[in-house]
Symmetry: C2
Subunit: 174 residues, 2 copies
DNA sequence: AAAATATGTCAACAATGCTGACATACTGGC
DNA sequence: GCCAGTATGTCAGCATTGTTGACATATTTT
């Protein structure tokens, strides 16, 4: 368990309260802003945006992903997904294959250039993460991983962790 | 310094590369999604969005903030800021005061209801952070803080850390 | 008085979310 | 084989939040 939080009595309202971790709230904002901002620069060169990045990333990580699974991961609507997916397919970054067991399904996979772009994007984000971990100290990676997992909503936690693990198993080479 | 990363030789390209920390890349996405998503629910009840949240948050934390400083923090354009700021002012959540030294400046401060909403939002985000820290272990807070600071772009790092510290000093009561 | 600064505003547009309705193709149970 | 359910695509329309560029006003600085 964690150390008991520093507690104060508010002089006006006379209600007990703990000071919110404003530093972390703000660092999360700035860190995320720069984390995705750097990828945005790369994407802009291809005429893509963040939404394209998310789709490309998960298709690269989970080859053979279906539309339904992707919708579930991204939590957006079919309409929003289709707009960006169409761009990626027309641009030759993603291909669709008809499902074998169920021919209604479209199995999404990255093409060679799609894989290359996905890696390029993962590369810049990796570099930033590696630098931050190195600066934070050797033994912080586990702590950070656990913290981030704890930030995920309890309902999705299991699903998210399973997804992350699935990507690890698939490896990058199907 | 951190432990040397596990290095492999790519069998095809014959270039050395390290496996990207896909787990962290994805956890950052899911954690952020849920972190802001919970606040969105509160905001929706007031007819506000994320953009309103950011403005309200920083005005609450840094009372007397000027437009120029806010633009610099949020990295958006005047037009985008003015739209949401107008909503917040008309809704009675933020007030403007004319600068004393320089009468061109508008010093932004939260009203009572603005402060209350800002606290409510900080409250739900705090709770999530506290839970995640508790689950991750007692001594993870420093590690997480350093990691997040390291994720901020090097150019802004000093500025961001100064801002976070300034908020801590201002406290919540000007 | 002129130049620079802080702010506000207008018009137009782009990216990415949303809803609801409807069409097509395929599967699976009976 | 039929029919209900499922997986997907698509259309029209709309909201939020970002962008650019131009121009107006008030105030300060030189």
């Amino acid at each position: 368990m964690s150390a008991p939080a520093l507690q104060r009595l508010d002089p006006v309202r006379q209600t007990s309260h703990v000071e919110a971790p404003y530093d972390l709230i703000e660092l999360i904002f700035f860190a995320y802003r720069d984390f995705v901002g750097e990828a945005d620069l790369v994407l802009a060169a291809y005429g893509f945006g963040r939404a394209h990045h998310r789709v490309l990333h998960f298709v690269d990580r989970l080859p053979g992903l279906t539309i339904a699974e992707l919708l579930d991961i991204l939590r957006i609507t079919k309409q929003s997904l289709n707009r960006v997916l169409r761009d990626l397919i027309e641009g030759g970054f993603i291909e669709q294959r008809t499902g074998v067991a169920d021919r209604r399904r479209r199995l999404l996979v990255t093409t060679r250039s799609g894989e290359a772009l996905a890696r390029e994007l993962a590369g810049v984000q990796s570099a930033r993460i590696a630098k931050a971990l190195a600066e934070a100290g050797v033994d912080t990676r586990m702590a950070v991983t656990r913290f981030l997992a704890g930030m995920v909503g309890e309902g999705d936690r299991a699903h998210v962790l399973e997804l992350v693990a699935r990507g690890r198993i698939n490896g990058s080479h199907l």
